[in-house]
Symmetry: D2
């Protein structure tokens, strides 16, 4: 008989909803090596947590996350709260021997990240950071193409994560723009995603030349707006950031994260150029990968728009969903992440991206901040 | 207290999986006006049906569809089997007072379609055909733009449903290519979808000039291949079809359905041109709608690529899912369909597309066949 | 010493300007096998013709086309006037032993086309119809790919020529919408182009099922508007046309021509699907060809966007222009056409598309009209 | 009577061909305020220069550029040689009172640029740098949209100039990769273009954080290959470069130039994001401009793909060419440049981009080099 993992999830907002869906869907679409039970959900407000419990499909609710990490009933802790709370919860969960899935950005500073990795390693639990975009089928295909050497020597890694919600000065100062809760604003929130994709697809960052910036220094406080007022608060974190850098093997990097790109909704754009080929990806067209193969006959080279939706093992994950051309959406990336995480837990194996990846990501983020503060290169 | 509808679903393959997912997901993402219970699933093979029951989340399983349509426990019958079985099941379900959701193509001929509509009308049940593509957010937005008159007088309705799986002569002769089970092959299977979109967005077809065709007249029988043999069978239905025609208000129509378009995976392409604007849609980029507004300033007119993912009531359905740019996939169209169907059942209201739409669609399909057979115009 | 051809061109409007440019540019960019002299230009209005002569770079001007076709000084006659004048001029030119480049649509009926071909054949002159789109580098590459068999058995030829200028009911009734001068309105004017591309790339049309149409039956007369009046005239020719059909080797065809597609400016869209590959082209992105190669590895198939701008003989014509990615425009198609025509004249060889192509095109146009009139299939 | 300018052009390779074409074509397509005569062409090799003279349409040839700048017959000097020769020629031309059109990159260092500007200013001649991409109709439209304030406060200017020819290590070390002749390799050659577009569209660069790089430090010498040998030479200039920076009014800049992006042929990609709208342009689709208008109704916002080919004064320059949708190519940018230059000369007016623009561009290039060398911010 297959083992059953009981899951406790902390947080019920955007990520809580996305994770809950994935916990429900993974066993329906993937032949997992263990069963899962959506056991307990945790939030600060009792009434809201009860509503979320019913709506998102959990059995129990609590307002004390310690109940989850300490409960002998719970096998897996899913941390879907703002980043300032990750370290304390993750370390406690590790001490209690729970497998841990932790949302990104991993921590609010490098020190916390180190402690989290140390705790998880010491406890020998399975630990994973939820960089869900690694499991877009198109990205997995990109990884395969690169691993095969089909791009040759890589010259450029170029990425931009662009959204547009902050272009409006009236967009409120919520937790994502507060120093305490977010750690580093837009830089931590979304640059962390493309740094992760760079590390996954290409290699480690060695040194960086960064520029973190705040376009709009004051915004109405979210809490104030909720009360019908309009009290302003200072934006003490970056709302945009860019950096150049060097990666392993002399790859030149150029990354940029912004929420000031009107018309770009969730534009995660990646281009990798090598001596034999190039790859281009844009999340707003997430079911496609563009691949230029320098080995094609000279008169018919061009970026191919591959619909990454083929079955029979041709493309990853999609065989478990729908026929070719019947595309997937945003939420599927979480289902794939959780399916792989559950299987890793069942087998007691490591599953990427681990807390070590979380730490390395944090080191890049910090190096960019350091470079920006000093106005010169910083080592990662 | 909200009412609870117990659902019985017949069929567990491609459509059964898509519908089951939608029955599970609709209450999680939409505030339905009734609860739903995935009560009983039905299939011909007992063992497979049990497996499907467990996998797809149903409480009970049966191999006799009559148990479902006659059970006093069941409120809603979901017909997800091949089209030759629709009429008998739907008529029996109607007689037993069940609300009915019926997969497309609605029936295998016009007469059946008439009988199905008559039975459902007489029984005063809620009846709906599962033309799921009507509830792509981009298509609903197109409908709104047209309804506002923003296209002006419509000149052209142009649609193509193109896939590529039959380009391989070894692709087997399955039920979709058999006369008995499919009614009309590719013509019925996928032309019915774009006919439906034309009727939804533009108006009724008046007369048609059709060409139905079979490129490859013999294929290995699916059953034979399953036994490791390669017995050939005759393809007695169209595997491709095109037609020109006139719609309401003098709109010129050009529709084509094929599974011989290599590289086109689920390419449902629609273009509508009017005196004030144009619309373009391609399912392979399903989260976008292209709109050309002739009222824009002369120097900045162009097809806008609208990402139909805005919340706050701006775009339909998407507020219940994820933030802007975090796109939906194929399966969401079924969730929207079933959410609307459940609400209609709860309120005892009609919900489009009804069995009358199913009948009218069937009449267009038949007129195209008639025109093709006679080599001249046929009235719908 | 290379021979010098003296050219006489009849017409100075849109086509006259495009041809004059090509006559001037061809020797500058291509190593022609003969010199050319822009000798005499002819138009009906003496003053306008003089202005055109100076502006377009011709040595002499005349208002009598017979002077050109009968002059012993002239070697080549370029017919760039409306189609009703083609036959008389072309036949006279042939009788006088001139090589002939004739604008499309070739003639205003099949009989004229037959006479033109007969005259040119009898006179043993070089004769060419100016279907300039054949010499878009991307189209020549498509031809090469098809000729190599890289598409396998061809199933579908699909083309649309869409513009939008007639969507405005106030667009005047000019010669292109008059029966006498145009022969067949939009059907002749632009359907002839995509028929030609179908014949060039795929094969002959065998039978057709056509629908020619006039959306707006009355328009202000161009002459009347020029006088500040607004006298209406009847549109006695098609302003839109579509047809289905069969080509050689069982290729299913679907062609449509319209000037009612708002937002489509010069949208010549072609798709060809075969058992091994597909091709897509859109003139509005004329430097690119999209090619889907079914022989690519299964996980990386997709439409390649080939920039058809490579030098060193990789792509046709472009080596004579600019480096890769430095695209060509509309007018270059005429330069290529005239370069090839001059070389053919110098060598006394035939050059496609000949007057025989003109005749066959006319036969397809007529068959579509016949089919539309009778409401049933017509043989070509 | 209109004045006639006699032009002397120095250089006959790539730029010489492009300029010659523009000198020939400008009077044919634009109503210039003066006549032009292609008087004398100059090159180092007498035989080649004679061939070029004949092929490119010039009356006279010389091997001594001083003959041109000193000749009383010459009114305009067109400098189309490598950048190390610009200063001496331009200064001499200015001293002789010639109007000057100078290719980019303007000079090989800032000092030269200053001297060139000083000489031209003192001589009161018309002086222009040939940044031809400013006169792509789509770019002029972008300028207009920005000037109207339709983008609001600008946050981001982002540009990449990507080609792929150096991805092959065997591509030879030609003058563009030599320090003496090029000044600064790929950085000067193509970063100068996107710096110019940034200055034209958005504003001045204030400070930069740069990274200039040489991926492949040795290449076969072009001269050696020409002799059938393969002698290697050191690449002493950047073959790729990126920089971040601040522009006027707090605009964040990110520019990158490379010839290592396989599949990118002449990919000049620009994105500008403001508080009210965004603009995107890619030269490989040069007839289109993408514009996102934040003022559009909330449910129908999206990047519009504007075909910048409308006549009647709607779009710049195109009225003089062809109808809508009949796109232009690379060479037309030179025709527009020269048409405007001639008109400015005729009226004795300044025409952008002037030598002052050349100087400012050079200052940005130098600041990027300085920043890269020191590893910290540099002021422009």
């Amino acid at each position: 008989m297959a083992k059953t993992f009981r899951v406790g999830m902390i947080g019920y907002r955007f990520m809580g909803r996305a994770h809950s869906n994935a916990w429900r869907q993974a066993p329906k679409f993937f032949p997992l090596k263990a069963n899962v039970e959506l056991h307990t959900i945790c939030g600060r407000n009792a009434a809201n947590t009860q509503t979320a419990r019913a709506q998102l499909g959990w059995q129990h609710a609590t307002t004390d996350w310690r109940e989850i990490v300490e409960s002998p009933l719970i096998d897996i802790v899913d941390i879907s709260v703002p980043p300032d709370l990750h370290a304390e919860i993750a370390i406690a969960a590790a001490k209690n021997g729970k497998h841990i899935l932790c949302e990104k950005v991993f921590a609010v500073n490098v020190k916390q990240a180190e402690q989290m990795l140390a705790a998880a390693t010491k406890a020998k639990v399975v630990h994973m950071v939820c960089h869900n975009y690694r499991r877009i089928p198109a990205i997995v295909l990109a990884k395969k193409i690169i691993a095969e050497g089909a791009l040759g020597r890589i010259y450029h890694f170029r990425a931009r994560y662009a959204q547009d919600r902050l272009a409006d000065p009236e967009f409120p100062l919520d937790w994502r723009l507060q120093k305490d809760s977010s750690g580093g604003g837009v830089h931590y929130d979304i640059n962390s995603h493309i740094i992760d994709l760079g590390r996954y697809l290409v290699g480690e960052f060695k040194q960086v030349l960064g520029l973190v910036n705040t376009f709009i220094p004051e915004r109405p406080l979210a809490e104030s707006l909720a009360k019908g007022q309009r009290k302003m608060g200072k934006v003490a974190v970056p709302d945009s950031a860019a950096f150049l850098g060097w990666m392993d093997n002399g790859v030149m990097a150029n990354l940029e994260a912004t929420r000031y790109a009107l018309g770009r909704k969730n534009h995660i754009e990646i281009e990798i150029n090598g001596s034999k080929g190039s790859i281009y990806f844009d999340f707003e067209d997430m079911n496609a990968l563009k691949f230029y193969n320098g080995a094609d006959p000279a008169d018919r080279r061009g970026f191919r728009e591959i619909q990454v939706t083929e079955r029979d093992g041709i493309h990853p994950y999609v065989a478990n969903w729908w026929p070719p051309g019947h595309g997937l959406g945003y939420e599927h990336t979480f289902v794939h992440t959780i399916a792989d995480f559950v299987n890793a837990c069942a087998e007691g194996k490591s599953v990427q991206p681990t807390f070590e990846d979380g730490l390395k990501n944090q080191q890049v983020l910090a190096a960019v901040e350091e470079s920006s503060a000093k106005g010169k290169w910083a080592k990662v």
